[in-house]
Amino acid sequence: MPEQMATQQNSRETLSFYITGFVLLVVLPVLNVLPSEDSWLYLSDFRLNQFGKFLCFAILALGLDLIWGYCGVLSMGQGVFFGFGAYCMGMYLALQIGKESVYGSELPDFMVWTQVKELPFFWYPFKSFAGALLGAILVPVLFATIFGFLAFRSRIKGVYFAIITQALAFAAWLVFNRNETRLGGTNGLTDFKQLLGYRLSDPSTQRGLYIMTVLALGAAYLFCRWIVASRAGKVLIAIRDSESRVTFSGYTPWMFKLFVFVVAAGLAGVSGMLYVPQVGIITPAQIGVLPSLEVVIWVAVGGRGTLIGAVLGAVAVNYGRSVLTNYFPEAWPFILGGLFVIVVTMFPDGLLGMIRKLSERKKTPAPLIKAEGSTAA
């Protein structure tokens, strides 16, 4: 019976959620703390921190998967929303440096050398941690609401939407690069010292940030799963399959698109906010066209239209990058591009689709997405 199959799949998903959660939340930190440094079980601070970074990217990928994988709207500007979140947290961390800065000024270093005498007004909210947290979520959400409202209401669709979001990423990159923006220009914000009184150089602080990231990813995943499982989640898939029929069923497609676009932007903001203290730097290079495109590749590689696929893709591609750039640093863009072409042409369901195909070979195959109707690829 199909119903039984669905519940079976559901309980398997819940089980793997708990197992993955346990491994990420308990096993990895314990392997970081308990074994001695020369034990083969030992997970170095560097590795744990790196994993934290990948999990931030997974949150970013979840958002794109909602809007692209489920709703069929390709956004090539997710890096911008990630950047908003990252810069909000970065501004807070930059103000926390205080007298420890190179020039011993209360102002961030870059302001001293660009001769800014007073803290610009828009930096004020980021003196407080609460301001940074709120800003990191609200700024991308508000921006996405306005941008999405204008774009979706005007019935901008498919490749046109992809192009204007890419233009948005380019524009944001230009703006953040300028010194007049008072956000550190090309060099961005860096040299952070402490967060809420905890030293960022301390491994236990980084471990704490890693655990926060795992919890945030878990919450983001459950939130997305709740959306996808609801009737609204079915409307998203319906929009991807046949937008005109959705209209004639009495729904207003652009409002649903706006909703997921805003959710995706909020998730990107959370992702950027967690990324900055773990990586220690945010520059315009991390928010432009290329980083936005990479998110698309993660989701495509992992398997779009499945939440686990997005997480898997983000972690796998970034892990692959960290390994392969050791051996072939020059070749990485080609590997990434090649991977994208191979996945899109040969494995439209991504890694997860391949895994399912292998594991369900004997049973009836359950297709994830079949290109039918108007799927914006």
């Binding site: 009737r231 898939i237 399959d241 209209t247 207003t252």
Partner: protein, 254 residues
């Protein structure tokens, strides 16, 4: 007959595409709970007429009065749907990656179809019952949990009809439902539409004359954007003028 009995009354509708008049002073009316078939040669404006009624295209001039005198011209498709006009497209237009049941569930008429009510909404027992009934009517009970994209062409067409009737339309517009169907599927579709008429008015566009004979009481012949003849199948088929138009021998007098 007085106008009170009309659910749809199109008056002098003109649809002008840069000089080409797809509808030219078209007057077309339908009674409550009637099953009406519209036939006509290619390019007669049949699909355009449905597009104008359901709000997909806006006519150049004219009125489309629905129910108690509501003019549909100028309203958008979502609002017209909510007023009670359901549209079944020519090519099956269903949600291929959802199950048959989910396709129907999304289509059920509900008080609000905004983002947040849809996010929170759960199907009520009454709604589930209606969906089950509809599955029965369209003969897809066994396929309730199949992926809609895996259905046959004919089953997809029935599914879409089911989706439209779950919106409780008082007027159902059906565009060439049996194109591409097998003989058996065609006959079943005829039975389905006959079963449905009586609960709502149905306007069917069709080419297949055998099918028209199976379901039609009154047939409207459309040519060059205007109604040239209306009557029973026999009357229409016997009409010399209609034959001449079909064979391209006669011009339509506007």
């Amino acid at each position: 007959m007085t106008d009170d009995n009309l659910i749809l009354n199109c008056q002098n509708v003109v649809m002008d595409y840069d000089g080409f008049k797809a509808l030219n002073n078209c007057n077309f009316s339908v009674h409550y709970n009637e099953l009406r078939v519209v036939i006509g040669p290619n390019g007669a404006g049949k699909t355009t007429l449905l597009d104008v009624i359901c709000g997909k295209t806006k006519p150049t001039s004219g009125k489309v009065l629905f129910g108690k005198g509501i003019n549909l011209v100028g309203k958008n498709a979502e609002d017209i749907t909510k007023l009670g006009v359901g549209r079944k497209f020519q090519a099956p237009s269903i949600y291929a990656n959802l199950s048959v049941w989910q396709n129907l569930d999304l289509s059920v008429k509900r008080a609000s179809k905004g983002v947040f009510p849809t996010l929170m909404g759960r199907s009520t027992p009454a709604e589930r019952e209606r969906i089950d009934e509809t599955l029965e009517t369209i003969g897809l009970t066994e396929h309730a949990h199949d992926r809609a994209g895996s259905l046959s062409h004919g089953q997809k067409q029935w599914l879409e009809i089911g989706m439209v009737i779950l919106q409780d339309p008082s007027l159902l517009l059906v565009d060439e439902p049996v194109a591409g169907m097998s003989d058996k599927e065609t006959e079943q579709t005829g039975q389905l539409l006959t079963k449905l008429s009586g609960k709502q008015a149905i306007v069917v566009i069709e080419h297949d004359m055998d099918f028209v004979r199976q379901i039609a009481n009154i047939v409207t012949v459309l040519a060059e954007g205007t109604v040239v003849c209306e009557g029973t199948v026999e009357t229409v088929q016997a009409d010399e003028h209609v034959r001449a138009i079909y064979l391209g021998r006669a011009k339509v007098a506007h």
